[in-house]
Structures are given as C-alpha cells and as structure tokens.
C-alpha cells in the first residue's frame, strides 16, 4: 500500500505533466503547499519505488506504474466528486475538497459500486474526464475560453476546480460543462467578454475566462 502523501504527489505530478509538460520541484512544491526541500526528499523516495524517473536538477516524469497509480487516484477523486453531487446533492464548489480526503480511502469494491450507481460516467462535475478502471483517459483537446474571438460559438468543456469561490460564481452565471455559449464581444486590453448563455448575455472577466476550457469552437453562421 502507498501512503496518502505518495498518492497526492503522483496525482499532482500527473496533473502538471499533462498541463505544463515539465514537472519541476518548485511547481510541485507550489501545488502541494510543501517546501521545495521536502519535495526533493519525496522525489527520491518515489524514484526508489520506480514511480518516477528523476535526474538531479532535471525535474521528474511518471513511469508506467506511476502513471497507472496516478490515474487510479484521479479516477477515485472524480468518481467521488460526481457521486457526492448526484447522490447527496453536494454543490459543485464543495465536492473537490471532500474528494481530496475520500480518494485515499476508497476500496475497489466501493469504487465499482459507485461507478455502477452513476452509470459508468466519463466526466466529473467540472467536466474533467474520469479515467477508466484499466487506466485509460480521454483528454479532449480544448481551447481556452479567454482566447476565443467574437462571433464564435463553443461548448464549455471543463471548468477549473482550483478555487471554490470561483466555481460558485461561475455556477451562478450558468457556466457549467456541456453548456452552449456564443461569444458576442471581447473588450481589448485583457478586457471582459460578452457571452450569450441560453439567450442571456453574461459579462465575464478575461482572468476568469482563463480557467474555462471549451470545445467545438465554430464561427456563428
């Protein structure tokens, strides 16, 4: 059995790896809220367990077995998030925090039961894909909402869960995954966007738009 700490490291390494590409000691330390020196120590341990490859001063990469475990933890996390929302009505801005704890205590048996209850779902409440039991994950290629130009429509794919209050805010505005939107206008100098959701115009700051990923971007007819 791997410790909760190790599971957390692997999860975050996977996350950074698939976002920024390179995983550095500092980026890990930042996301985990741990001192860089402590991260170095843990990377040695992960390396000794063949979960990552680590050359001094050169960052880390997940090995095959490290990836497998990372995806298991991510699967747990996202299944739990969706389960809490669907089965217990927990609002989407609180599921992440709970899942952070639950992901480490979920047995395979309960995982399967939750998966079945939810009808073998493929994405969590924020639109992030749920890896399959055998460690396959479908990463859609998305665009950043902040970069979409006026006169285009799109579908919200994913909303970052890094800030609960931002999720609450976006929920109030109706920015949920799978929602159709039209970008009406975009103000210059990193200014706000006018976005049409269900025939209502919403004003969204560009900073916030950075945390929303969209797909199916097309010019409006």
């Amino acid at each position: 059995m791997l410790s909760q700490s190790i599971e957390d490291y692997l999860k975050v390494i996977y996350d950074i790896q698939s976002t920024d590409g390179k995983v550095t000691t500092t980026s890990l330390a930042g996301k985990l809220g741990i001192a860089p020196a402590s991260v170095t120590g843990m990377l040695k341990k992960l390396s000794a367990k063949k979960l990552v490859t680590h050359k001094k001063y050169q960052g880390v990469q997940l090995t095959e077995s490290g990836t497998k475990i990372a995806l298991e933890v991510i699967r747990h996390h996202r299944l739990i998030e969706l389960y809490l929302k669907e089965a217990l009505g927990v609002p989407w801005d609180r599921v992440h925090e709970e899942a952070e704890k639950w992901e480490h205590v979920l047995s395979e048996d309960i995982e399967d039961r939750i998966d079945k209850f939810l009808g073998h779902p493929t994405s969590d409440p924020h639109g992030s894909p749920i890896p399959s039991r055998d460690g396959k994950i479908i990463e859609r290629d998305c665009s950043c909402l902040a970069d979409i130009e006026p006169g285009h429509k799109a579908v919200i794919a994913e909303v970052s869960d890094h800030d609960a209050s931002m999720l609450r805010y976006l929920g109030e505005l109706g920015f949920y995954p799978e929602t159709n939107i039209v970008i009406d206008s975009v103000e210059p100098f990193n200014g706000p966007m006018k976005i049409n959701i269900k025939n209502k115009i919403k004003i969204l700051g560009r900073e916030v738009a950075r945390y929303i990923a969209v797909t199916d971007v097309k010019k409006v007819a």
Copy 2:
C-alpha cells in the same frame, strides 16, 4: 484537528468502557493491535490533551470532551455503515471494514446529508445505536443470547461486528437485528441452541450465541 490514531483510541476506549467497565493498557493494546508500550505513550498524549484521565498503572477514563469526540467518531462509523448498506448495497459483513477508514474523513456537512438521506436513523446494520449529533446515545439493556433459557422468546438487538465471517454466517442463518426468535432448546455443557426464526429451526453454537444480544425476553405462552 485530532489525528486518526487519536480518534481510534477514543472510539475503542469508549467501547471497552461501556462493555467491560475498566479500560486497561492491555485491553486497549489488544483491541487496537498495538504494543502495550505504545499505548502507554499515547495515553500520556491523550491525558495531556485532557481527553482522558490517566493515573499510572490505573487504567484510563474518558473525560467529558473525550467522550464527546468518541461519540462523534462512533456516529460517523455507524452512519457510514448504514449508508453503505442502504445506498450502495454493501453486504453487512463488509461495511465495518470500510467504515473504519471513512469515519475519519467525514465532514459535518456530509454527515448531515447522509443522516438526512437515511431518515435520521437510530441504529446501524448490526443493531448498534447511532449517537445523535449532540452526543446522546441510547444504550438498550440487552441480554446475551447464550444465556437465554429454553421456552423463551426474544428479539435480536445487536450482533457483534468483530468478525466479518461470523457476520456472513449469521446473515445466512437469518440472525439480523429486530428479528423475533424463540429458544426451543439448549444443550448442556455449553452445547448448541435450537432457535426458531420465522418458523424454521436453526442450530446455533453457544460460542457464536455469545456475540448476539437480545431484548424483550419473555416466557412463551
């Protein structure tokens, strides 16, 4: 925040206190699967935190605040056991093991949602009472099934969850809480009992019967 270990100690201290009365270092060590010397160390810590009173060589007792926390952990444990059974169909011989892990990661919010989902239940799948949110627990006074004499009827109150395989066995025989039974005969020399459950005669060893508590014992008319 208290550690998982501390929560486990308090829970087990409560359990022994309400069963055997006196809580000794050895009894704790036994139930927790920890060396007695280690228990001594932890008891010092619990004492420093005013969760127990501990005089050297004299065992421990929960303080008021220790009792409060113990009951919270027990409430978590038992709510989760029942939830796993009701919501996810987990068989009663497996819920204990899962709850041992989950009880430490349950937030007040989720606790309340589960409690509501279950309709504010008062006992878990094994018949143990669930403490209320404000720390009240109704301990019924039960008799041990092994001590009931022939010609008496009774109602199963509680079945010990200490051994999963025993629970599975008792489940197959139909020994669930709230079930009406009649003791038809009892063999001498610690011999087996003939018990009538739903008009079927079951033979139950006296050793196993020690782990079943009953209420409403009455002479059969």
